[in-house]
């Protein structure tokens, strides 16, 4: 059965070890080790805050949401399971969910910038300051995104960065609901397969 055969594991890092040690920091945090949690925060906060800012646009609110993310990470560290996904994935997922929820709750009070979710941020992407690993991930993602069709990429980006629900994406693009869901799934499958699964 394909679903069971496809066991999800950490994608191996060429540099080796760094992601493994972040997973260990979460595990240590789970037993109350605040020094480990501090290290986890320092290693991951720029990426977490970066994602939240990208979705929320508002720096101050983004820091509030980021605080909530780390508090939740601290409270629920015991439930982190590295076999299902690494620490960075876990944190970015927490962050994305909270950012999207905040966007939706503010949507009624705020005019949505139509394409804000897709267009590049005005925050310059400082390639020089990137860690080697995050640069590799960045390049890999860029490469994998080119393997998606334009409409797949568009629906993924509207949903992921724009915080839209799939019915909202369908309405904005004037495309049937089923078509949007198919594009999202197909795009995500291509991305998943391009990024690589089990070693």
């Amino acid at each position: 059965m394909p679903g069971i055969a496809r066991r999800l594991r950490l994608s191996p890092r060429a540099a080796g070890g760094a992601d493994g040690s972040l997973d260990d920091l979460v595990a240590a945090s789970a037993s109350g080790n605040t020094a480990a949690f501090e290290q986890l925060y320092d290693a991951t906060a720029p990426r977490v805050l970066g994602l939240v800012v990208r979705v929320l646009q508002d720096r101050a609110q983004s820091e509030e949401v980021t605080q909530e993310v780390y508090l939740e990470a601290w409270r629920t560290a015991d439930r982190f399971d590295a076999a299902r996904g690494n620490a960075v994935t876990w944190l970015l997922t927490l962050a994305h969910g909270r950012a999207v929820d905040r966007v939706r709750s503010a949507a009624a009070a705020r005019t949505r910038e139509e394409k804000a979710g897709i267009r590049d941020q005005n925050v310059p992407y400082d390639e020089v300051s990137e860690q080697v690993e995050t640069r590799m991930e960045h390049e890999q993602l860029r490469r994998c995104l080119t393997s998606l069709s334009d409409v797949q990429r568009e629906s993924l980006q509207l949903a992921y960065f724009g915080g839209r629900t799939y019915p909202e994406v369908a309405a904005e693009l004037d495309v049937p609901l089923g078509t949007i869901k198919t594009r999202m799934r197909d795009g995500l499958i291509r991305l998943r397969d391009c990024l690589g699964g089990p070693a």
């Binding site: 679903g3 069971i4 496809r6 999800l8 789970a30 605040t34 925060y41 906060a45 720029p46 990426r47 805050l49 970066g50 800012v53 990208r54 720096r59 820091e63 980021t66 605080q67 780390y70 508090l71 939740e72 601290w74 409270r75 560290a77 015991d78 439930r79 982190f80 399971d81 076999a83 299902r84 996904g85 960075v88 994935t89 970015l92 997922t93 927490l94 969910g97 909270r98 999207v100 929820d101 310059p124 992407y125 400082d126 993602l141 993924l156 980006q157 949903a159 992921y160 839209r164 629900t165 799939y166 019915p167 999202m184 799934r185 995500l188 499958i189 991305l191 998943r192 990024l195 699964g197």
Partner: protein, 248 residues
């Protein structure tokens, strides 16, 4: 299985992107806790979705944020199974991933079932062996599956006054209440579900921490479900004003 028709990979992909509307999200959350096959599928989508964040420039947090986070952490208790429950004898060969099959947090998309495990043991009842815990959880998972598969299932959701939203999935006289992005509570407080039935208010159980759900018995004929913040061990009647209520 009828249930799986609802939770096809398109739904799981949208779930991983946080692109499901609240009621569908709550239903999927509850289902994932009971379905290992869907968890495996969604894990791959989650990994791909999170990889999209690699396209985003990191942003250096302010020193205030760091101080604020670390300060809050030093004052915040953690939800560990050991803290929530009386000590449980671990069975030989019980792997960590086996134990977390119903408890992995993927917040805000975290699994919803099995809350009663925490509540039951937290009431100071006799120490349960892991096998008994597994039986309880499996039985709850089955009840949740039946609830989700019911074509007459209704969902109602609404904002929680202190932050976040909560959704009730109601069928067959039972309900699952799932919170999403609820405000964190101090270690000595918990969200408690209340059932309003013919004007009388009774407890529907506690919401566990971390975006999980409560399975509420016996809501046939009840008019309303509510949430309030109570002491962590729960109250007989609400001691604070409800922060969420829905008509069911």
């Amino acid at each position: 299985m009828t249930t799986h028709l609802e939770f096809d990979d398109e739904t799981l992909a949208a779930y991983a992107l946080h692109a499901l509307p609240a009621p569908e999200h709550a239903a999927a959350t509850a289902h994932l806790d009971a379905c290992a096959r869907c968890r495996a599928e969604v894990d791959g989508f989650v990994r791909a979705a999170a990889a999209m964040a690699a396209d985003v420039a990191p942003v250096q947090p302010s020193p205030q944020l760091r101080r604020s986070v670390l300060d809050a952490v030093s004052r915040t208790s953690q939800q560990t199974r050991a803290a929530a429950a009386a000590p449980v004898r671990s069975a030989p060969g019980q792997s960590r991933s086996g134990r977390s099959s119903w408890s992995w947090s993927f917040s805000p998309l975290a699994a919803a079932a099995a809350v009663l495990l925490v509540a039951v043991v937290g009431l100071g009842s006799t120490v349960l062996g892991q096998q008994r815990e597994l039986e309880i959880v499996t039985a709850q998972a089955a009840r949740i599956e039946r609830l989700l598969a019911d074509p007459d299932r209704r969902t109602v959701d609404g904002p929680v006054r202190s932050g976040g939203t909560a959704t009730a999935l109601v069928a067959q006289g039972e309900a699952v209440v799932v919170g999403r992005n609820l405000a964190g509570l101090p270690a000595d407080r918990a969200y408690q579900v209340w059932v309003v039935d013919d004007g009388a208010v009774r407890s529907g159980g506690l919401l566990p921490a971390g975006e999980r759900g409560a399975l509420v018995d016996d809501v046939a004929g009840a008019e309303q479900l509510m949430l309030s913040v109570e002491p962590a061990q729960g109250s007989q009647q609400p001691t604070t004003s409800p922060i969420w209520s829905v008509r069911i």
